[in-house]
């Protein structure tokens, strides 16, 4: 009576739970977080992911890469959502970690103000145009350039993410309501 097929076919208002679960399984998602982002949430999300990676006996080197990239992604979201604090409904963002075809992937999605889009697009394009050596040079230039910007990160986060993953950043911008775009970022971290 309560076998999986029944549950799946039952037109109950709760079947979205199963659908979501199925979706997560099929995409090999290890973790999804949707909501407000803060340093405390960051610590909780990191700790959960770290435990998962430990429980499957993941290699220390890969674990550190995933951890480092997660930190930069999550702190980038924190910074953006702070910028958006005037409009409370724009604070919400999404963060996902998954594993597929021998690579980890980290996805983030958050609204950003229209006025910040051009600068972000330029940064992303610049980073994706550089090879390993070029990224190192850019990182060293930015880190030694002096005062950290108001946003606290000196734009180093994305450069660091690209360096540590060794892959191009994949991204898109979707139209939201007036003045906002939804910025989606996908980072692949190969296990080898």
């Amino acid at each position: 009576m309560s076998n999986l097929e029944d549950l799946k076919n039952a037109a109950t208002p709760l079947n979205f739970i199963y659908k979501l679960h199925e979706g997560m399984m099929s995409k090999n998602l290890k973790l999804i977080y949707e909501g407000d982002f803060s340093q405390d949430i960051l610590k909780a999300v990191l700790s959960m992911t770290e435990k998962q990676l430990e429980s499957i006996g993941e290699d220390g080197k890969i674990k550190k890469k995933v951890f480092n990239i997660m930190v930069e992604c999550l702190q980038n979201i924190c910074k953006h959502t702070e910028d958006n604090k005037i409009k409370i409904n724009h604070k919400s963002a999404i963060f996902m970690v998954g594993f597929e075809n021998e690579e980890y992937f980290i996805c983030t999605g958050n609204p950003i103000k229209q006025e910040n889009v051009e600068l972000l697009k330029m940064k992303l394009a610049e980073i994706n145009n550089l090879d390993k050596e070029g990224l190192k040079a850019l990182y060293m230039e930015v880190v030694s350039r002096g005062a950290i910007s108001d946003r606290g990160g000196a734009g180093l986060g994305l450069i660091d993410i690209a360096r540590k993953s060794g892959k191009k950043l994949e991204y898109s911008f979707e139209e939201m309501e007036k003045d906002y775009l939804f910025f989606s970022l996908l980072i692949r971290i190969p296990r080898n």
Binding site: L42, G60, K64, K65, G153, D160
Partner: protein, 126 residues
């Protein structure tokens, strides 16, 4: 001079700066969101050291498991202070940068800092 002793947390490192005992180290995780505020006492302590201490052979140890990019800039600020302490008032500084044996990213980070500052820089695997 005062001892600076910060106990590590989930997202901040353990820091001990003790001129009398000659213990100078930073270890653990450094992921604070506001790295500038967190490291401010360290920078102040080093300023005090530079103006009050002489003839100290400082072995400054950095043994970090993780650090975020917000911390990377502040680490450079710390190393710049060490650079000015070194060879002033008879003080000398040796910086020891530790990395776990398979952690290439941490090793490279050490190499990069050694290119950015004029300090005796030793990379140590653990």
């Amino acid at each position: 001079m005062d001892v600076l002793n910060l106990k590590g947390t989930d997202d901040t490192p353990t820091i001990v700066l003790n001129a009398e005992e000659k213990v100078f180290n930073i270890s653990g995780r450094s992921l604070p969101e506001d790295a500038a505020s967190f490291y401010n006492p360290v920078l102040t302590w080093l300023d005090d050291f530079a103006t009050t201490q002489s003839g100290v052979a400082m072995k400054f140890e950095v043994k970090l498991e993780y650090f975020n990019t917000a911390s990377s800039k502040l680490l450079l600020d710390i190393f710049s202070k060490l650079e000015s302490i070194n060879s002033n008032n008879g003080n000398s500084v040796n910086l020891e940068w530790y990395y776990e044996d398979d952690d290439e990213d941490m090793m490279e980070a050490g190499e990069e800092y050694s290119e950015l500052v004029e300090l005796n820089f030793t990379l140590k695997q653990y």
